[in-house]
């Protein structure tokens, strides 16, 4: 039984593009071939989760049935009633599988069936979002077929970008006119090749050629500077890893967006020149955007709304600081339950809180603080370095270096 990991080699792209051809011809002639698309999705899920990954396939099927049942149940309930306790329990039940998966590595001796599979967190983002919107009443009804299409939308299933239900269904139910579709395809081809450049050339240079060398060099200096392991090689590792992380992930995201565009679905972009951000706040509007926007809309804003509505925290500045802390801590835990992911979250919370202090100060003293292309350059440089340092924490390399 064969198994192909998404976007991993030229064969995969050849098979994928060949399978896309009927969908593209259909859209070109103004039709969406929904049955074919369903079959297409199914076959690629089998390719990804079949073969020696079959246990992941089983986990995916069980997980999907569970989530669809949960969401459809809540939708049915929400038509007539709206109790907060039911809503909260539904959300908790929806994130339960992900929580179990995240905690499993803490119990290495437990050899029971692993319920995890590639992309479980991205599916959880989607289900939680739909449940919350059902609660708010912005989604009134869902059909299980459309919900499945949304959840299992093949190009983005393994690692995002995270789309929104209403946005997705609008595209899915709509067939673009030929001119618009050709513009989409044009964009898709561009993204595809940009993705090749990012993932297979730049990502390869940084990740495969440079990273092992700087990693080894930095590890050989683990006793440098009084046993802290801080060396020039560690600095090199920080930059090389950051570049690798960006090009690999941005390349992957470009593939997912590109394939979506071929299918007439405008999956949102994930990156917008993140290293050109002037400050941390702006960075999070440019880096892994669909994730940070999801956190903004479903953690940060809801948390603030809830706390402020109950007047638990009056001071606006304190409120935002608390919300940032909660937001980034949750993000840290989501990445995994290790000290370095959690420190990464705390680091970004601290950075964005300090950043806010500075922005307020700047606003107050706008006439005394110079603003020109040099200060902008300085801001970009400082932000870039702070971000790279946070990625050094994120990489887990310090864990290897110190423990």
């Amino acid at each position: 039984m064969i198994n192909l990991q998404p976007y991993s080699n030229p064969n995969y792209f050849m098979i994928l593009l060949a399978a896309l051809l009927p969908i593209m011809i259909g859209l070109y002639f103004g039709r969406r071939l929904k049955i074919y698309e369903a079959l297409f999705t199914f076959s690629f899920l089998v390719l990804t989760f079949g073969g020696d990954h079959w246990h992941q396939g089983v986990a995916l099927i069980i997980y999907t049935i569970y989530q669809v049942g949960l969401t459809m149940g809540f939708e049915r309930y929400r038509r007539t009633k709206n109790q907060t306790s039911i809503f909260v329990s539904t959300v908790l039940l929806s994130i339960l599988p992900l929580v179990i998966v995240k905690f499993t590595p803490l119990f290495p001796n437990d050899h029971s069936f692993n319920i995890g599979f590639l992309g479980i967190s991205y599916l959880t983002f989607k289900t939680v979002q739909v449940i919350m919107e059902l609660r708010d009443g912005t989604i009134k009804e869902i059909s299980w077929q459309q919900y499945l299409q949304f959840l299992l939308f093949f190009p983005t299933i393994s690692s995002g970008p995270i789309d929104r239900y209403r946005r997705f269904i609008k595209d899915y139910d709509h067939v673009p006119d030929r001119k618009t579709y050709l513009a989409d395809v044009d964009q898709a081809v561009f993204y595809l090749f940009q993705g090749f450049l990012y993932k297979y050339i730049l990502g390869y240079i940084f990740g495969t050629l440079l990273l092992p060398n700087v990693s080894q060099a930095a590890l050989s200096q683990r006793y440098a500077l009084g046993g802290t392991g801080i060396s020039w090689y560690l600095l090199a590792y920080m930059y090389v890893y950051s570049m690798y992380l960006f090009f690999d992930f941005a390349g992957y995201s470009l593939f997912a967006v590109s394939i979506s565009y071929f299918m007439g679905i405008k999956t949102p972009m994930n990156f917008n020149k993140p290293f050109l951000a002037h400050n941390i706040k702006e960075f999070w509007n440019r880096w892994h955007m669909t994730l940070s926007f999801w956190f903004r809309d479903f953690i940060f804003m809801r948390f603030t709304f809830w706390v402020m509505k109950h007047h638990w925290v009056k001071n606006r500045v304190r409120m935002s600081q608390l919300a940032y802390l909660v937001n980034f801590l949750v993000m840290g835990f989501w990445h995994g339950i290790t000290w370095y992911y959690i420190v990464y979250g705390l680091f970004h919370a601290a950075a964005i809180i300090l950043n806010d202090y500075w922005l307020r100060y700047k606003k107050k003293h706008a006439d005394q603080i110079p603003h020109n292309k040099w200060t902008e350059g300085l801001a970009i440089f400082a932000t870039f370095n702070i971000v790279c340092f946070s990625f050094l924490i994120f990489s887990g390399f310090l864990n290897q270096l110190w423990f």
């Binding site: 919107e133 912005t138 804003m301 603030t304 402020m308 935002s320 606003k363």
Partner: protein
């Protein structure tokens, strides 16, 4: 005070700028509103005007200028 005046008064409060004549200013691109201030905006609209806006309803592109906010609130009333 009518709703439009109320909305301008809330916005001027939140941003610390007089936006009364600048109905087409993009509040997000200019950094005048952030997520925090947005939540306050929604809460104030709820208490001052009595229109409940769920967070999910908040689609940035539909709320990015004072004029769009006025239109949106009008449609939800």
């Amino acid at each position: 005070m009518n709703d439009t005046e109320k909305i301008y008064s809330i916005l001027n409060d939140l941003t610390g700028e007089d936006l009364t004549d600048k109905g087409d200013t993009n509040l997000f691109d200019t950094g005048l509103l952030d997520s925090m201030a947005t939540v306050q905006l929604l809460l104030e609209i709820e208490t001052e005007i009595g229109v409940e806006v769920p967070v999910s309803e908040f689609e940035r592109s539909e709320w990015e200028t004072p004029n769009k906010i006025i239109a949106k609130v009008g449609s939800l009333k």
